[in-house]
Symmetry: C2
Subunit: 249 residues, 2 copies
DNA sequence: ACCTGAACACCGTTCAAGT
DNA sequence: ACCTGAACACCGTTCAAGT
């Protein structure tokens, strides 16, 4: 027993590979998923990063989906943590700030590893971090004035909107630069050169649209703003009394 | 000359393969992309569908991205056509109906071939059908009361929101059934069994959330409704006069 | 109990050879 | 001018063999 321990500690400087564990594999995978790590997640690259045979990962994860789901849990947990750090303790009454910070935090943690966004934005892990965060979001909307079920529907809208936009952005920015350039050219050139006679409004707004092409974050922030204006309207409606169930103005 | 024409028409019933053209390839590709066609687009399947060698397609499209972009143009054109058919002639003054129908139509044409949504929802082709539709959308918002640039920003928000949600839905529904079942279980089981003491609101709204999991269309319609409420607020603000540039309430 | 490495069925793409 | 078919560099995954 003692001899084996000693043997293990014997060559601390030699390049013996770290024992493969779920945690060490997830760490390596997160490194690969980040833009600095190349942003691509394959068994081959993962094996190289771990100094092990690519198929060794199968001893710790059933398949790639299993691995991706575990990465999603970590990503969601990080997003929730980011949001909590940016918010005052406990759910304040500023529901708008609360929802904005939560949405931006989730988006940021996914965009730090775009592959995860592409492969699993629409997946549900039902991890503790996730369920606690959902309960909190619903409570913020409920305390703002929405009935419970409507608050839950509203939470769902916000999260799906955020995840969908995040996946959309991640998918585009993961295309190779030459392909992205094709699209940028479509905006900058084709939309910029539309004849004023036939396209009077597009002619005037093309510069702004090209600007927006170059900054997805701006479009997301605008959508979030408009969406939350709609939520505000529903909250006002719910507070004004139980009557008047009409939808649109 | 005449002899060759006669020769070509000679065996109309024999199984001579149709000449490979850009159009015939696109038709075959659209067939494969539809759910009934299997929903997967690969050169191998495409070659089989065309009765030709898989690599023959490379004589008509530079690479897969070129093919996908052409399919995207057709999809957008179909969406625009769908919207026009559902709307009265010319842009009416009911901006809300206009935007709703346009968003639903684009969504429907992409979901008829989910692979295209997954691979190219975020791409810009700047095709004539696209540019004409954009000009119309901006004009509807402008006539509703928004300044041109704000109308353009609003168009962009609506389209990105719609395309992102469509890609999100398409990506999830293209997962194999076993994988989708994992997520459904997360909602129906884990969320349904949360202890009431710790999760009072989730406990009450879990049934509704599970319902929403099963119908993405419903979530999209709700998001669209909330978003358009926000747009209505901005239109009111713009109409009330040029003062009061504040964003949120 | 865990890891290795060959093997398999797929991808998109290239290129020399056919007609 | 267009199509064929072998070939290449990748994917995820399986499985018998090692230790």
């Amino acid at each position: 027993m003692e001899a084996r321990v000693a043997e293990q500690a014997e060559r601390p400087t030699s390049k013996r590979r770290a024992a493969l564990t779920r945690e060490s594999i997830l760490e390596a995978a997160l490194r690969l998923c980040s833009p600095e790590g190349g942003g691509q997640l394959t068994f081959s690259r993962l094996g190289k990063e771990l100094g092990a045979d690519p198929t060794a990962v199968y001893r710790h994860f059933r398949d790639k989906d299993d691995l991706v789901l575990a990465l999603t849990e970590l990503t969601v947990a990080e997003g929730v943590e980011l949001a909590r750090a940016a918010l005052p303790d406990g759910p304040s009454d500023d529901w708008r700030a609360w929802l904005t910070v939560t949405a931006e935090s989730i988006r940021a943690s996914y965009l730090a590893r775009p592959v995860v966004a592409i492969l699993a934005a629409a997946r549900t892990t039902a991890s503790p971090a996730e369920t606690r965060s959902v309960e909190l979001l619903i409570s913020v909307l409920h305390r703002a004035g929405l009935p419970v079920i409507e608050a839950a529907e509203c939470y769902r809208q916000l999260v799906d909107l955020t995840l969908a936009m995040t996946q959309y952005t991640a998918a585009f920015s993961s295309l190779d630069p030459a392909t992205q350039a094709k699209d940028e050219a479509a905006w900058a050139v084709k939309y910029g050169m539309l004849p004023e006679a036939e396209f009077p409004l597009l002619h005037r707004s093309a510069p702004r649209l090209t600007e927006l092409f170059r900054d997805d974050g701006e479009v997301f922030r605008m959508i979030l703003g408009t969406f939350l204006d709609g939520v505000a309207l529903r909250i006002d409606r719910a507070r004004d009394g139980s009557a008047g169930a009409g939808r649109s103005a």
